[in-house]
Symmetry: C2
Amino acid sequence: MHLELNERRRRVLKAVIQQYIDTATPVASQDLARSLGVSSATVRNEMAALEDAGLLTHLHTSAGRLPTDAGYRFFVENLMDRAALSTQEQRMIQHQFYQIRSELNQWIHLAAAVLARTAQTAAVVTPPRAYESRFKHIELISINDALVLLVLVLHEGSVKQQTLPADPNTTQEQLSRIAGRINELCHEASAKAIANIAHNQSTNQPPLSSFEVLVIESVARAMQQFEEHVNELIHHDGLLEMLHQPEFGQVTRVREVLSILEGGTMLESLIPQALASDGVQVIIGGEHSRDELRDYSVILSRYGVNGDVAGVVGVLGPRRMAYPRSISSVRYIAGVMSDLMGDLYGERKIEPSE
Amino acid sequence: MHLELNERRRRVLKAVIQQYIDTATPVASQDLARSLGVSSATVRNEMAALEDAGLLTHLHTSAGRLPTDAGYRFFVENLMDRAALSTQEQRMIQHQFYQIRSELNQWIHLAAAVLARTAQTAAVVTPPRAYESRFKHIELISINDALVLLVLVLHEGSVKQQTLPADPNTTQEQLSRIAGRINELCHEASAKAIANIAHNQSTNQPPLSSFEVLVIESVARAMQQFEEHVNELIHHDGLLEMLHQPEFGQVTRVREVLSILEGGTMLESLIPQALASDGVQVIIGGEHSRDELRDYSVILSRYGVNGDVAGVVGVLGPRRMAYPRSISSVRYIAGVMSDLMGDLYGERKIEPSE
DNA sequence: GTTAGCACTCCTCGGCCAAGAGTGCTAAAG
DNA sequence: CTTTAGCACTCTTGGCCGAGGAGTGCTAAC
């Protein structure tokens, strides 16, 4: 991967990629001659060499050069200026997260919005998910004669709600007592452990009422669903802005992007991969085996608290993407979100029990 | 609006519109001659009359006819067959809602998905919102030494969560006691009433601790925000499928739709209008004053429990939309959702107090 | 009132050509 | 051996033209 390239050849490659990212037009030898202080013929020779090396290509004889996947890859790994976001931008982002730090379920909206604006492409964010969710607390609230609202709080802070049928005339006091008992029974338990509590009735003293069993089973089911992330949704933002990029001149491109985002590729393939990796993942075009990604690049990072709970944040854009800026943005925002989550319950890791 | 049109002329108009909806191609006199049992010349005469009446138009001399806004309007109000969904479809939809009836926050996802598939256009759904939200219940859950999770349940069943800073070493028992006191203080109260509780400290006996005031203020703020629907989001689905329609041949169309959905037109203009109206609203093309809607039609219906809590469900598509099917779908799904919400807490309306 | 016939209009699409962009090669210069 | 000027060559792009075709509007006959 790390090819032998002399200094000037690297400069040419870098210049081609930067200009192509900037203008979306194949770059001609003439364009670089001036800034490199050599003639266009010399640049052409260098370009031809880079093309032999598989880093550049061109669309037809009389067209300028543009990078291949390998070219972009080399750029990202060896050539690119790793510019961080300006401190001003960092402050703004921090500030916005600070504003809503208490509203957990707005995080993903904010993260997607900020990332889309900062990286100037479409952003994707998944909500944080526990590897193994642990029970924290339930609450039972009477809604009317026959219905009860079950609010389930999981350890990493996510809240699930559900309604359950109840015996008529169950009072709120009774419900609170029941909730209290279940909270003790299920304290810190995993989904499996809770399912067992409902099934191995005999060990419970006094035995559980049928309503209590129903509640416990509902809790177990909700936690299992949560772990299998049946409900996991990808939130995205910035699609509209991305459509102004020239690569989206025809509607099929738009359809491709939408079907990557909403049609499963993201969820089935990219997100799991990002969850399983450390650091920022950069996937350029056809490097990924999924054919529908051929013309797109994806930059993803896990965020969260190590080994405890994690989500994914990142961007999706055309292969011709502002890699330096996008990578910095993804890295920075993943960091901010991880810090915030650390504040919320990272400490618990250090002080083992509550 | 209700023009004088003889029977045959109505038949011609209806046939033109149905065929145009079907094929997206201007319809020629020849196309209708067979099915109407007259010659193409006769059809042409009728078409010319309909054009004079402002119900049809054509793009250039040698092109077939297509409906104007007024033509579609006449069709929707006087000509269209009001076919209900098949009982099989109805059962399927009912069944799907039944499956997730307990998971309130999945309703809008399901509704949008089902509607998009049934009506075969893009669907939009807003979550149910109370006209004036009333306090139901809070719960305070210790997350770690310095942070507390506040879970707020509103009367119509929605749940808000928020984290608050707390004195170190506050125990869960203390928090539960505080929650209990606040639950009593705020019982069934409105946002304003709760804000007053926090401000008119003097009336409280014993006086509220600073943490209690913080909690109450947070509750009041959350409820106010909820009423002003600062956070109200429109969920949509089916965009990808709609892009296969021939009107989306160029990307500007896609941008237009996205900016209607996400750029404010929906939220600022259409949703409030639908919330304020009874029944199914049909807005055809330029009938609405917003220029960006010129080429689109919108069908919206309020759903919910009358005077208590309501949301909006509907579809957005090209003007050439399958009105009969879309209108039936929107009406039916709004009905199903209203029924479900009625089950949840509509009864309360009949039995005045809890 | 209906319809056959026909002239007329306007769009669509393919082919063609000129202009332009940019390369690759060659041969000369450094 | 590297660099560069020069030039022929290739391929795209955009405009233009003209044939073909679709569908109308009108007129005159039924």
